[in-house]
Amino acid sequence: MSGPSDFQPSNPALKWIERRLPIFGLIHSSFVAYPTPRNLNYWWTFGAILSMMLALQILTGVILAMHYTPHADLAFKSVELIVRDVNYGWLLRNMHACGASMFFFAVYIHMFRGLYYGSYKEPREVLWILGVIIYLLMMATGFMGYVLPWGQMSFWGATVITNLFSAVPYFGESIVTLLWGGYSVGNPTLNRFFSLHYLLPFVIAGVVVLHVWALHVAGQNNPAGVEPKTEKDTVPFTPHATIKDMFGVSCFLIFFAWFIFYMPNYLGDADNYIPANPGVTPAHIVPEWYYLPFYAILRSIPNKLAGVVAMFSAIIILCFLPWLDSARTRSSKYRPLAKQFFWIFVVVCILLGYLGSQPPEGIYVIAGRILTVCYFAYFLIVLPLLARIETPRPLPNSIADDVLAKSKGRAATAASMLLALVVAGGLFAGSTQNAKAEEGGDTPPAQSWSFSGPFGKYDRGSLQRGLKVYKEVCSACHSLNYIAFRNLADPGGPGYSEAQAAAFAAEYKIKDGPNDQGEMFERPGRTADYFPAPFPNEQAAAAANGGKAPPDLSLMTKARSYKRGFPQFVFDFFTQYQEQGPDYLDAVLQGFEDKPPAGVTVPEGTYYNKYFPGHAIKMPKPLSDGQVTFDDGAPATVKQYAHDVTTFLMWTAEPRLEERKRIGMQVFVFLIIFALLMYFTKRKVWAGAH
């Protein structure tokens, strides 16, 4: 993309094409011969990482669209069916959902890198602005993608974000109605979001082409911030940058795989495992972590319109950065003051993100306002001022000089950067976990579960006992809609044989029909049938249970959580703690107390539970000692029942857990070996360049 090339393929067939369409010359000049500054550090590999992530998101997205149903009544279920029934569907879904977070994580590093090294300065203004456009498109795409699973957070996120536009004077309401295609968020909204979510990534890909084009016209910036002058300052893109980028990519994949295989729900919200319900808003609406800083800015401003304007300005202001910061020195390495303010700004952004995840009350509001002022002050006051008053340190004469000056200590920097990256990722990403505020329920004690950790497996005996408890107790009120009898014989499940599953199914009466006479009839269950629900519909379930339908249990262990708090959630990232749901469920089942503690009263028709948020639960104490007899001699105690039924419900929520962890281990072994190989290959390739 840097002008005509003198490259000529030697193969006559390729020559023939090249004369008519000089595509090989273009590729050669852009990605092979292209001179790249020799002093680039690993922060520069994030361009390649982002390209890979975009390709991966498009690929997995196109595949998921093959199995997904964009309809308000079917979307949630279709996502569950992808995860449960489609071959490797759980993998593809995790890749796509965690991939969105990784994409943003990488783009934030890419942007901060640009900020630190002044990559937006003359002559790269257009390159930078194209980048901001890509970022905006990513935000829109990410938001609409989050709506598609049609869980509670999807629905209410869509409601809150589309309502931002109602702040527009005069036209606000009409714009919102136009976005919704109805009087509220509903099926038309879901359909158009699906369509646009499919479209926008290709628009992003188009702008990325422009971004890369602009990059190849202006040339890459570099840590020294001085332009290459002689041949000695650069190395050819291939193999040097190619190999280095691939090494960067393989390290990033290790980080990515940690989420895909071990922490798939770490960045998600438990509420999104509850199907969308237009009648109930979750206690805390929190966007995905990558929007949190802007969400905090929105909430800091007490005026609706001003808040929306501030939020959008916080992004748009980036477009003006090349002119706000008029300092001649590009790299903050040589700007002692700018460097300090840069790190302060990074901290401000992370703190804003943290505040965005907290309830907007008390000290959080004040802190949010102060930080919002800091955010804008950095762009509007600090940078313009520094350009005038700061005396930069002397720049190296050339890139080659820069390389010579710091040939030592390179490995240490790379290692410390990698460590910083992982820690920062864990910290920032984990802040979303704090979204669950305490609502007056005791913290459930952490239990030991056979399925936790990287080698976790379900305890077959516990699954079978749990099934018995469900069948004899829970199933009187709770459905188990996503589990078919055939699942009982699936690998990684309770370990029944096909014949046992068929016999189990045959004990149930399933409604089928209509037959040739047009009548519904009952027949014995088959393995393909799903567990029948105890009530014919939600209204009947509510009517029989004091006005509130007992929730479906299939996803219960993933749909419930509790606040872990700082710094616990950071450790959770490293210890792979994902069992908030089971811990909570187990605790609630055992948390009933006949008499509320002195001074506590619970409303009529509710029961006191130590661990239930607010303590007043509608469900009467479901389990008591001796209620279910186990054939294997396990104790007939509430403690045992709770443990077994929770294990069983963890399996119903995550039937592919064993497969996921097993494949995860294989992927990890491979990726670590591959990254090492890439590292040594990179060293060999670069041996001549240093």
Partner: protein, 176 residues
């Protein structure tokens, strides 16, 4: 890969490059596998393709019914004496896809013809009781099948397929 220092041992360098390239190829292949495998029928579809049972009692002689199994129409014909007679007496050598009638029905249940009602030409659904052979006629490109579901005339290359099935009793079959 010509830029690495010439001071290197060439063999060691080459080994490293080959190993890295091979690992990349293995990784790529392993990544492609799930991306392709997801296109196969999912577990719910496979489970729904379990065998079905059909009661034959209501089908009178000369009648036929169409049932669906794995999304395919299955014709179950209660053949008349005449149809059986025709199917058994035709000379095999005159058939494009020679197969005796006895190989297409279950022994002792000559009156029941069970075939997958999908034309072996390009997949249209032939119409029963039409055409010149007392069997099926495909309206798409004019293939004609006889009362045993064998191709007699037209572009289709093969007889109508017989699905796997068994008689559970004289009036009940299980398909699949």
């Amino acid at each position: 890969m010509t830029t690495a220092s010439s001071a290197d041992h060439p063999t060691r360098r080459d080994f490293l490059f080959v190993a890295t390239g091979a690992a990349a190829a293995v990784g790529a292949a392993a990544t492609v596998w799930p991306l392709v495998a997801q296109m196969n029928p999912d577990a719910a579809t496979i489970a729904a393709g379990a065998p079905i049972q059909v009661d034959l009692a209501p089908i009178a002689e000369g009648q036929d019914i169409k049932v669906f199994w794995r999304g395919k129409p299955i014709y179950i014909s209660h053949r008349t004496k005449k149809q059986i007679q025709e199917a058994q007496s035709v000379a095999l050598s005159s058939l494009p896809d020679p197969q005796p009638d006895s190989a297409r029905v279950k022994a002792g249940h000559d009156q029941w013809l069970v075939v997958i009602g999908i034309c072996t030409h390009l997949g249209c659904i032939p119409i029963a009781h039409e055409g010149n052979y007392d069997g099926f006629f495909c309206p798409c490109h004019g293939s004609q099948y006889d009362s045993s579901g064998r191709i007699r005339q037209g572009p289709a290359p093969a007889n109508l397929a017989v699905p796997p099935y068994a008689f559970l009793s004289d009036t009940k079959i299980q398909i699949g």
